[in-house]
């Protein structure tokens, strides 16, 4: 048999498998989105529907809802592979594990993060957000949700071997999300005042680059601990 090592082949194979699984059970994609939508609906019901008030708190609502709904899918990121033994096979494969992990995180973002970004205009309508703030929200989500996937995957990797890792994982991960939340909401806040918010975006971008470079290594060590 011919054996050719191509990193791209591994990356696309792992990515493709996860996407294929997600599209086979569409609930995985749809349910976090619905959760997001329902959480957003709860806020006007709880604090009243005045458009001005809603527009003011909208960035906070959207981002907190985004944090919670990406949390939902994280638990599943490595769990199935852990339980059926695929994770061991991936570790024992001759490819570097961080690359495999990167592929899985990218797939996770396509499944949970990207739909959120695409649906944002709808949420903006519900919360009476103006166009400026909408653009800022989309941009921050575009930079921020992959960050959430990377940071969350570290927590998921650490807790995958535990019996009831779900809640523990949220406790580990949510504090790590705080910087993302701060810079993202501050960018949107600034945009509503028609000021320049490229600084906050630059910080988010820098954090994303650091995450892409370092998180896969952290995640693979976490997975090795969980498997042993």
């Amino acid at each position: 048999m011919i054996r050719q090592h191509s990193y791209w082949q591994l990356f696309s194979a792992v990515c493709k498998k996860d996407l294929q699984l997600a599209f086979r059970q569409r609930a995985e994609i749809v349910n976090p989105l619905l959760f997001f939508l329902i959480v957003i609906t709860l806020f006007p019901l709880a604090i009243g529907p005045e458009p001005g008030l809603l527009a003011r708190i909208a960035p906070g609502i959207i981002w907190v809802a985004a944090l919670l709904s990406t949390m939902l899918g994280l638990d599943k990121l490595f769990r199935d592979d852990y339980h059926d033994g695929s994770l061991e096979q991936l570790i024992a494969s001759s490819y570097p594990l961080p690359l495999t992990v990167l592929a899985k995180v990218v797939a996770h973002w396509i499944i949970t993060g990207l739909p959120l970004v695409l649906m944002t205009p709808l949420f903006a309508l519900l919360l009476n957000l103006d166009t400026n703030a909408l653009i800022a929200t989309v941009l921050t989500l575009l930079l921020g949700t992959p960050l959430l996937s990377f940071i969350g995957a570290i927590g998921a990797g650490l807790t995958v071997g535990l019996q009831k890792g779900g809640i523990l994982m949220s406790l580990l991960v949510l504090p790590l999300y705080i910087p993302v939340l701060i810079f993202a909401t501050s960018a949107i806040e600034t945009s509503t005042m028609s000021l320049d918010y490229s600084g906050q975006l630059a910080i988010l971008g820098a954090m994303l680059v650091v995450a892409i470079l370092s998180a896969p290594i952290a995640i693979s060590s976490a997975l090795k601990v969980s498997v042993s």
Binding site: L37, I38, T41
Partner: protein, 245 residues
Amino acid sequence: MWKWLHPYAKADRAYQLCNTLLPYFAVITVVCMIVGWVWGLAYAPADYQQKDSYRIIFIHVPSAILSMGAYSSMAIAAIVALVWQLRNAELAVIAIAPVGACVTAIALITGAAWGKPMWGAWWVWDARLTSELILLFLYLGVLSLYHAFEDKKAAGRAASILAIVGVINLPIIHFSVEWWNTLHQGASITKFNTNAIDPSMFWPLMLNIVAFAAFVGTVTLMRLKNEILQREKHRPWVRQLLNRG
């Protein structure tokens, strides 16, 4: 009546019944929808207050009525399914749910498109729109519960229970939202003064309501056929269908 209905508890008979009913529903849908839309869009007089934007009513009101109607018929099917243990009724619950969700989505979208010129905002947290949104969540809940189960028998029963719970909750939700709304913004905006509706607008509206109802019926029958086929996949009568078609 029971004697008359009983043979249709069998899957292949129910399938045939769907097949016989389907053309009638389809014809009514096509005729009423074409006439209703042309009448509503081109021939009905413009409203003196809202001008031509009011024409959205010819799809907004039918879809809003049908979103409720489809939910109640789904709940009735669910009750029949649970009380008489009729599997076909369970399948009907699952057949109606996606159609109902679509009609609800239409009501929401047309409501938003009507709201923009009238209230100046695409979305207003108005009592009726909010209840409609919650209704959409209920539909989607039934659907995703059904698809989450591996065992479709259990799935049908679970979805039926949820549909019944939803229909009991629906009035409570509606009144609480109404109360929430009046608490926050005084009297809610009334879109349409119903007793003043002119016959020249009333008849096309009626026609469109019939068209929507027939459409819901048509698609429900089609989906019911699918569900029956899916469940009876391994039976010989389904395999015979292959040879014929």
